[in-house]
């Protein structure tokens, strides 16, 4: 039984822990045992942790536009001069580091895509450390994040080429918000509303990678996606609900994506990609091809 809507998830989650609902659905979906499913998700969490330790601030991406910012942010987070405080500073650093690792051909875990791979690690890894949570809890939260992504993929899209960056960064942020809300003890309803609040905050975001590369603006959007995941989780935990029902937010995201001009869907022809800076980088890449 694949989970088809957030309404279905909220319904099932009112009676039973969300993780149980989702792991069962995965077993049916892929024809695997519960143990095999959990083992694979546990391996995935290990891969996320390995990806974190693979960060190298000295690396630069193929175009040279990306690299080293994660380390800058990490130093700043510990400087005592942050606006957001050291904890959020660390989250931002993690988001940038993972995005940079991806751009520099290090190993990462796409979640849901490679371009948006920094959001989930950025909200989950520091939270686990601060709250001293066991890995098993984090693995359960990954199921919740994954189910949110599945519903969005099914009802709309998770590809920038199809739905713009709202579909990638927006989905990553919604997944992160849901996972955090779940870990903090939020109800299934709160979890799904956290996801909807995040998605709504990034609604309309275009996909405009400079020279078509997953570098600019992608890396820094991971930081933004992580922030919105955290704020959305806290709103939902406070008892605040998305006025628009969560499934309708996803429908709206799809509609916005359908209306988005093709130049704003990963073609590298609109948005920041079309700026004089973006065009210059694109020309340089063509010359070096």
């Amino acid at each position: 039984m694949a989970i088809e809507s957030l309404a279905a998830l909220m319904d099932a989650g009112a009676r039973e822990d969300l993780f149980e609902v989702i792991v069962r659905s995965d077993c049916v979906d892929r024809g695997v045992t519960r143990e095999a499913s959990i083992a694979r998700m546990t391996a995935l969490y290990d891969a996320i942790r390995r990806a974190r330790s693979g960060y190298d601030p000295a690396l630069r991406s193929r175009s040279g536009m990306v690299g080293g910012d994660g380390a800058k942010m990490r130093a700043h987070a510990q400087s005592g001069r942050t606006i957001c405080g050291p904890y959020i500073g660390g989250v931002l650093a993690q988001a940038l580091e993972m995005g940079e690792s991806n751009a520099c051909m290090k190993c990462i875990v796409a979640a849901p895509t490679a371009g948006s791979c920094g959001v989930l690690p950025a909200v989950l890894l520091p939270y686990q450390e601060r709250e001293n949570l066991p890995d098993a809890a984090m693995v359960r939260a990954l199921y919740v994040a994954g189910a949110i992504g599945q519903v969005i993929a099914q009802k709309a899209s998770i590809a920038g080429a199809a739905g713009g960056c709202q579909a990638e960064s927006g989905t990553a942020s919604a997944m992160g918000a849901a996972a955090l809300c779940y870990l903090a003890g939020g109800s299934a309803q709160a979890v799904c509303h956290a996801a909807a609040l995040a998605l709504k905050s990034l609604l309309g975001l275009v996909c405009d990678p400079v020279a078509g590369l997953v570098e600019v603006p992608c890396v820094k959007r991971n930081a933004a996606g992580a922030m919105i995941a955290m704020s959305s989780a806290d709103l939902a935990l406070a008892g605040i609900r998305s006025a628009v029902p969560p499934d309708q937010v996803i429908d709206a995201m799809r509609e916005v994506g359908d209306k988005m001009d093709v130049s704003l869907r990963e073609t590298g022809m609109g948005g920041v990609a079309a700026t004089p800076f973006g065009q210059r980088v694109a020309e340089q890449m063509m010359e070096n091809a």
Binding site: I22, R30, S101, C107, A110, A111, G146, G149, Q154
Partner: protein, 223 residues
Amino acid sequence: MNLFDILGPVMVGPSSSHTAGAVRIGRMAHRLLDEGTPVRADIVLSGSFAATGCGHGTDRALVAGLLGMQTDDERIKDSFAEAAACGMAYAFSRVNLAGEHPNTAKIDLVGASGRTLSMTASSLGGGRIAVVALNGLRVRFSGDLPTLIVQNRDLPGHVRDVSDVLARDGVNIATLHLYRDHPGGDAVMVIEIDKAISAQRLDTLRAIRGITAVTFVGAQEEE
């Protein structure tokens, strides 16, 4: 999409379609050639693979896959040097393959024994791929399930022969597709099955008259 299409693949960046998908395409060709690392690879990049492939490492990813690497192998970015070390010559060209998916590569391989393979495959997004042509015939399969590929002359009775052999091993067929160029000409049977098939059975299939090649590719190994 299943849960692990959303979370994953574990991959070397930067792009699931242009890097991870490209590794899988190269690796699929490697496995279809079925005799280890090829000695020569001619690779045609089409569409967006040609336009932005260099910045995404698509070229290095394809070569890495041809060497047998998986999507999470950190040697992907050094695959050109690895290819030299393994004695695999390669050449790239950029041609627009009309009518194909935007992210498509055509790969022609020569193996150590002189065996050749021609494969065209597309990267569909999220690292998922589809083989769309094999040795000049249009086909379509993903390699997500264990897949048996039987090349034969288009003669009556081959489907029965092959399914008999599979039944003897208790192998259940999930899907079966036939492709041919013209009646009585070259044909390909693509059979997705639920579990692996023994090497011995593959040899039984190879011995059937009119069958020219049999290749088995196991399900995409996962992290």
